[in-house]
Symmetry: C2
Protein backbone atom coordinates (compact mmCIF):
# COMPACT_ATOMS: atom_id res chain seq x y z
CA UNK A 1 0.00 0.00 0.00
CA UNK A 2 0.97 3.63 -0.34
CA UNK A 3 2.54 5.94 2.19
CA UNK A 4 0.38 7.20 5.00
CA UNK A 5 -1.62 10.31 4.14
CA UNK A 6 -4.09 12.76 5.66
CA UNK A 7 -7.33 12.05 3.86
CA UNK A 8 -10.56 14.05 4.20
CA UNK A 9 -13.88 12.34 3.56
CA UNK A 10 -17.38 13.78 3.19
CA UNK A 11 -20.74 12.63 1.88
CA UNK A 12 -24.45 13.34 1.89
CA UNK A 13 -27.12 11.21 3.60
CA UNK A 14 -27.45 8.80 0.67
CA UNK A 15 -23.79 7.82 0.98
CA UNK A 16 -23.45 8.02 4.78
CA UNK A 17 -23.03 4.25 5.23
CA UNK A 18 -20.42 4.06 2.47
CA UNK A 19 -18.56 6.98 4.06
CA UNK A 20 -18.40 5.18 7.39
CA UNK A 21 -17.14 2.01 5.73
CA UNK A 22 -14.47 3.69 3.58
CA UNK A 23 -13.31 5.81 6.54
CA UNK A 24 -12.80 2.60 8.52
CA UNK A 25 -10.86 1.08 5.60
CA UNK A 26 -8.65 4.16 5.31
CA UNK A 27 -7.81 3.95 9.02
CA UNK A 28 -7.07 0.22 8.71
CA UNK A 29 -4.67 1.06 5.88
CA UNK A 30 -2.85 3.45 8.22
CA UNK A 31 -4.11 6.79 6.97
CA UNK A 32 -5.21 9.70 9.12
CA UNK A 33 -8.89 10.38 8.34
CA UNK A 34 -10.51 13.81 8.62
CA UNK A 35 -14.23 13.05 8.66
CA UNK A 36 -16.03 16.20 7.53
CA UNK A 37 -19.47 14.67 8.03
CA UNK A 38 -22.30 14.28 8.08
CA UNK A 39 -22.54 12.50 11.44
CA UNK A 40 -25.79 10.70 10.68
CA UNK A 41 -27.96 9.64 7.75
CA UNK A 42 -30.32 12.60 8.26
CA UNK A 43 -31.00 14.61 5.09
CA UNK A 44 -28.34 17.17 4.19
CA UNK A 45 -27.37 19.14 1.08
CA UNK A 46 -24.39 17.66 -0.78
CA UNK A 47 -22.94 21.08 -1.83
CA UNK A 48 -22.29 22.00 1.82
CA UNK A 49 -20.14 18.92 2.31
CA UNK A 50 -18.51 19.16 -1.10
CA UNK A 51 -17.41 22.73 -0.40
CA UNK A 52 -15.93 21.76 2.99
CA UNK A 53 -14.00 18.95 1.38
CA UNK A 54 -12.68 21.11 -1.46
CA UNK A 55 -11.46 23.68 1.05
CA UNK A 56 -9.69 21.02 3.13
CA UNK A 57 -7.82 19.70 0.10
CA UNK A 58 -7.10 23.06 -1.53
CA UNK A 59 -5.65 24.50 1.66
CA UNK A 60 -3.49 21.44 2.23
CA UNK A 61 -5.23 20.47 5.47
CA UNK A 62 -5.78 17.12 3.71
CA UNK A 63 -3.57 15.59 1.02
CA UNK A 64 -6.46 13.80 -0.66
CA UNK A 65 -10.24 13.78 -0.45
CA UNK A 66 -13.06 11.28 -0.84
CA UNK A 67 -16.46 12.71 -1.90
CA UNK A 68 -19.56 10.53 -1.83
CA UNK A 69 -23.24 11.03 -2.63
CA UNK A 70 -26.01 8.96 -4.19
CA UNK A 71 -24.63 9.17 -7.73
CA UNK A 72 -21.37 11.00 -7.02
CA UNK A 73 -22.51 13.59 -9.56
CA UNK A 74 -23.76 16.37 -7.30
CA UNK A 75 -20.89 16.33 -4.85
CA UNK A 76 -18.31 16.20 -7.65
CA UNK A 77 -19.85 19.34 -9.17
CA UNK A 78 -19.55 21.09 -5.80
CA UNK A 79 -15.94 20.05 -5.16
CA UNK A 80 -14.86 21.11 -8.65
CA UNK A 81 -16.14 24.65 -8.08
CA UNK A 82 -12.85 25.19 -6.22
CA UNK A 83 -9.88 25.79 -8.56
CA UNK A 84 -7.60 24.07 -6.06
CA UNK A 85 -9.63 20.85 -6.12
CA UNK A 86 -9.55 18.31 -8.94
CA UNK A 87 -12.36 15.87 -8.29
CA UNK A 88 -12.76 12.75 -10.44
CA UNK A 89 -16.06 10.87 -10.44
CA UNK A 90 -15.19 7.23 -11.07
CA UNK A 91 -16.99 3.89 -11.17
CA UNK A 92 -14.06 1.62 -11.96
CA UNK A 93 -10.34 1.25 -11.10
CA UNK A 94 -9.14 2.15 -14.61
CA UNK A 95 -10.76 5.58 -14.30
CA UNK A 96 -9.37 5.94 -10.78
CA UNK A 97 -5.85 5.31 -12.12
CA UNK A 98 -6.29 7.66 -15.11
CA UNK A 99 -7.56 10.40 -12.80
CA UNK A 100 -4.24 10.38 -10.95
CA UNK A 101 -1.95 9.71 -13.93
CA UNK A 102 -3.40 12.33 -16.29
CA UNK A 103 -5.36 14.80 -14.15
CA UNK A 104 -3.47 14.74 -10.83
CA UNK A 105 -6.88 14.35 -9.17
CA UNK A 106 -6.76 15.14 -5.46
CA UNK A 107 -10.36 14.09 -4.76
CA UNK A 108 -12.14 10.91 -5.80
CA UNK A 109 -15.95 10.94 -6.03
CA UNK A 110 -18.13 7.85 -6.11
CA UNK A 111 -21.85 7.13 -6.03
CA UNK A 112 -23.27 4.84 -3.34
CA UNK A 113 -26.26 4.01 -5.55
CA UNK A 114 -24.07 3.11 -8.50
CA UNK A 115 -21.26 0.94 -7.20
CA UNK A 116 -21.02 -1.51 -4.33
CA UNK A 117 -18.66 -1.15 -1.37
CA UNK A 118 -16.07 -3.62 -2.72
CA UNK A 119 -15.80 -1.77 -6.03
CA UNK A 120 -15.63 1.55 -4.18
CA UNK A 121 -12.84 0.21 -1.97
CA UNK A 122 -10.89 -1.03 -5.00
CA UNK A 123 -11.26 2.32 -6.79
CA UNK A 124 -10.08 4.10 -3.65
CA UNK A 125 -7.02 1.85 -3.31
CA UNK A 126 -6.08 2.48 -6.92
CA UNK A 127 -6.59 6.24 -6.51
CA UNK A 128 -4.24 6.27 -3.50
CA UNK A 129 -1.37 4.40 -5.14
CA UNK A 130 -1.48 5.71 -8.73
CA UNK A 131 0.89 8.58 -9.46
CA UNK A 132 0.65 11.68 -11.62
CA UNK A 133 2.67 11.29 -14.81
CA UNK A 134 3.46 14.99 -15.23
CA UNK A 135 4.98 15.78 -18.64
CA UNK A 136 2.42 16.89 -21.21
CA UNK A 137 -0.31 16.62 -18.55
CA UNK A 138 1.23 19.21 -16.25
CA UNK A 139 0.30 22.23 -18.37
CA UNK A 140 -3.30 21.07 -18.56
CA UNK A 141 -3.51 20.64 -14.81
CA UNK A 142 -2.05 24.15 -14.37
CA UNK A 143 -4.88 25.47 -16.54
CA UNK A 144 -7.40 23.76 -14.22
CA UNK A 145 -5.90 25.65 -11.28
CA UNK A 146 -6.21 28.97 -13.13
CA UNK A 147 -9.62 29.11 -14.79
CA UNK A 148 -10.55 32.21 -16.80
CA UNK A 149 -11.88 35.14 -14.83
CA UNK A 150 -15.38 34.82 -16.24
CA UNK A 151 -15.53 31.39 -14.67
CA UNK A 152 -14.57 32.43 -11.16
CA UNK A 153 -16.92 35.39 -11.08
CA UNK A 154 -20.33 34.55 -9.76
CA UNK A 155 -22.84 35.02 -12.52
CA UNK A 156 -26.52 34.43 -12.81
CA UNK A 157 -27.02 31.44 -15.04
CA UNK B 1 -37.47 12.41 -28.86
CA UNK B 2 -37.33 15.70 -26.97
CA UNK B 3 -37.93 19.19 -28.26
CA UNK B 4 -35.27 20.74 -30.46
CA UNK B 5 -32.49 22.46 -28.52
CA UNK B 6 -29.31 24.46 -29.08
CA UNK B 7 -26.56 22.11 -27.94
CA UNK B 8 -22.86 23.00 -27.64
CA UNK B 9 -20.27 20.26 -27.97
CA UNK B 10 -16.54 20.28 -27.27
CA UNK B 11 -13.78 17.74 -26.78
CA UNK B 12 -10.03 17.22 -26.74
CA UNK B 13 -8.03 15.28 -29.34
CA UNK B 14 -8.67 11.91 -27.66
CA UNK B 15 -12.41 12.31 -28.11
CA UNK B 16 -12.41 14.12 -31.46
CA UNK B 17 -13.93 11.17 -33.39
CA UNK B 18 -16.65 10.70 -30.77
CA UNK B 19 -17.43 14.43 -30.92
CA UNK B 20 -17.89 14.26 -34.68
CA UNK B 21 -20.16 11.25 -34.37
CA UNK B 22 -22.34 12.63 -31.55
CA UNK B 23 -22.59 16.01 -33.30
CA UNK B 24 -23.92 14.19 -36.38
CA UNK B 25 -26.43 12.29 -34.20
CA UNK B 26 -27.62 15.51 -32.55
CA UNK B 27 -28.22 17.09 -35.96
CA UNK B 28 -30.07 13.97 -37.14
CA UNK B 29 -32.31 14.28 -34.06
CA UNK B 30 -33.15 17.83 -35.11
CA UNK B 31 -31.01 19.83 -32.69
CA UNK B 32 -28.93 22.88 -33.54
CA UNK B 33 -25.29 22.03 -32.80
CA UNK B 34 -22.69 24.60 -31.77
CA UNK B 35 -19.39 22.82 -32.37
CA UNK B 36 -16.79 24.54 -30.17
CA UNK B 37 -13.95 22.40 -31.45
CA UNK B 38 -11.37 21.21 -31.86
CA UNK B 39 -11.47 20.97 -35.66
CA UNK B 40 -8.98 18.11 -35.92
CA UNK B 41 -7.45 15.35 -33.82
CA UNK B 42 -4.25 17.40 -33.24
CA UNK B 43 -3.19 17.65 -29.59
CA UNK B 44 -5.03 20.28 -27.56
CA UNK B 45 -5.57 21.01 -23.85
CA UNK B 46 -8.97 19.89 -22.55
CA UNK B 47 -9.37 22.85 -20.11
CA UNK B 48 -9.47 25.32 -23.03
CA UNK B 49 -12.42 23.52 -24.58
CA UNK B 50 -14.13 22.84 -21.26
CA UNK B 51 -14.04 26.55 -20.40
CA UNK B 52 -15.50 27.53 -23.78
CA UNK B 53 -18.30 25.02 -23.32
CA UNK B 54 -19.09 26.15 -19.76
CA UNK B 55 -19.29 29.74 -20.93
CA UNK B 56 -21.65 28.84 -23.79
CA UNK B 57 -24.04 27.03 -21.45
CA UNK B 58 -23.81 29.49 -18.55
CA UNK B 59 -24.53 32.49 -20.78
CA UNK B 60 -27.48 30.72 -22.39
CA UNK B 61 -25.90 30.66 -25.85
CA UNK B 62 -26.52 26.91 -25.64
CA UNK B 63 -29.26 25.16 -23.67
CA UNK B 64 -27.17 22.05 -23.06
CA UNK B 65 -23.56 20.98 -23.48
CA UNK B 66 -21.67 17.81 -24.35
CA UNK B 67 -18.07 17.58 -23.02
CA UNK B 68 -15.78 14.78 -24.18
CA UNK B 69 -12.19 13.78 -23.48
CA UNK B 70 -10.29 10.50 -23.07
CA UNK B 71 -11.79 9.67 -19.68
CA UNK B 72 -14.28 12.54 -19.37
CA UNK B 73 -12.56 13.40 -16.08
CA UNK B 74 -10.38 16.33 -17.09
CA UNK B 75 -12.97 18.16 -19.16
CA UNK B 76 -15.65 17.69 -16.47
CA UNK B 77 -13.32 19.32 -13.91
CA UNK B 78 -12.85 22.27 -16.27
CA UNK B 79 -16.55 22.74 -17.04
CA UNK B 80 -17.49 22.57 -13.37
CA UNK B 81 -15.15 25.47 -12.53
CA UNK B 82 -18.00 27.68 -13.79
CA UNK B 83 -20.79 28.15 -11.21
CA UNK B 84 -23.32 28.37 -14.04
CA UNK B 85 -22.38 24.96 -15.41
CA UNK B 86 -23.41 21.65 -13.89
CA UNK B 87 -21.43 18.95 -15.65
CA UNK B 88 -22.15 15.27 -14.98
CA UNK B 89 -19.59 12.65 -15.96
CA UNK B 90 -21.56 9.52 -16.82
CA UNK B 91 -20.88 6.06 -18.20
CA UNK B 92 -24.40 4.67 -18.21
CA UNK B 93 -27.98 5.82 -18.89
CA UNK B 94 -29.09 5.54 -15.24
CA UNK B 95 -26.48 8.13 -14.23
CA UNK B 96 -27.46 10.28 -17.20
CA UNK B 97 -31.09 10.26 -16.00
CA UNK B 98 -30.16 10.96 -12.36
CA UNK B 99 -27.95 13.88 -13.44
CA UNK B 100 -30.99 15.60 -14.91
CA UNK B 101 -33.58 14.51 -12.31
CA UNK B 102 -31.56 15.38 -9.20
CA UNK B 103 -28.81 17.78 -10.28
CA UNK B 104 -30.40 19.66 -13.20
CA UNK B 105 -27.17 18.96 -15.10
CA UNK B 106 -26.81 21.18 -18.16
CA UNK B 107 -23.65 19.46 -19.46
CA UNK B 108 -22.98 15.76 -19.92
CA UNK B 109 -19.37 14.54 -19.93
CA UNK B 110 -18.24 11.18 -21.26
CA UNK B 111 -14.92 9.47 -21.87
CA UNK B 112 -14.10 8.15 -25.34
CA UNK B 113 -11.65 5.63 -23.86
CA UNK B 114 -14.22 4.30 -21.39
CA UNK B 115 -17.44 3.81 -23.29
CA UNK B 116 -18.22 2.96 -26.88
CA UNK B 117 -20.15 5.19 -29.27
CA UNK B 118 -23.44 3.29 -28.89
CA UNK B 119 -23.38 3.62 -25.10
CA UNK B 120 -22.40 7.29 -25.42
CA UNK B 121 -25.31 7.88 -27.81
CA UNK B 122 -27.75 6.17 -25.42
CA UNK B 123 -26.49 8.22 -22.45
CA UNK B 124 -26.87 11.39 -24.50
CA UNK B 125 -30.43 10.51 -25.54
CA UNK B 126 -31.38 9.87 -21.92
CA UNK B 127 -29.73 13.12 -20.81
CA UNK B 128 -31.75 15.09 -23.38
CA UNK B 129 -35.16 13.67 -22.44
CA UNK B 130 -34.88 13.31 -18.64
CA UNK B 131 -36.32 16.21 -16.66
CA UNK B 132 -35.29 17.93 -13.45
CA UNK B 133 -37.55 16.91 -10.56
CA UNK B 134 -37.17 20.17 -8.62
CA UNK B 135 -38.63 19.95 -5.10
CA UNK B 136 -36.01 19.09 -2.47
CA UNK B 137 -33.35 19.09 -5.19
CA UNK B 138 -33.86 22.74 -6.13
CA UNK B 139 -32.20 24.19 -3.03
CA UNK B 140 -29.13 22.02 -3.57
CA UNK B 141 -28.83 23.11 -7.20
CA UNK B 142 -29.12 26.75 -6.07
CA UNK B 143 -26.16 26.15 -3.75
CA UNK B 144 -24.14 24.86 -6.72
CA UNK B 145 -24.81 28.14 -8.53
CA UNK B 146 -23.60 30.17 -5.54
CA UNK B 147 -20.44 28.57 -4.18
CA UNK B 148 -18.72 30.17 -1.17
CA UNK B 149 -16.41 33.07 -1.89
CA UNK B 150 -13.28 31.13 -0.94
CA UNK B 151 -14.11 28.77 -3.77
CA UNK B 152 -14.48 31.38 -6.46
CA UNK B 153 -11.29 33.23 -5.52
CA UNK B 154 -8.23 32.01 -7.30
CA UNK B 155 -5.85 30.49 -4.77
CA UNK B 156 -2.57 28.70 -5.04
CA UNK B 157 -3.14 25.07 -4.24
Amino acid sequence: MCATMKIAIASDHAAFDLKQELARNLREWGHEVIDLGPDSADRVDYPDFGYKLAEAVATGEAERGVALCGSGIGISMAVNRHPGARCALVNDPYSAALSREHNDANVIAMGARLIGPDMARTCLQTFLVAEFEGGRHAGRVAKLTNPPKSTTQQESA
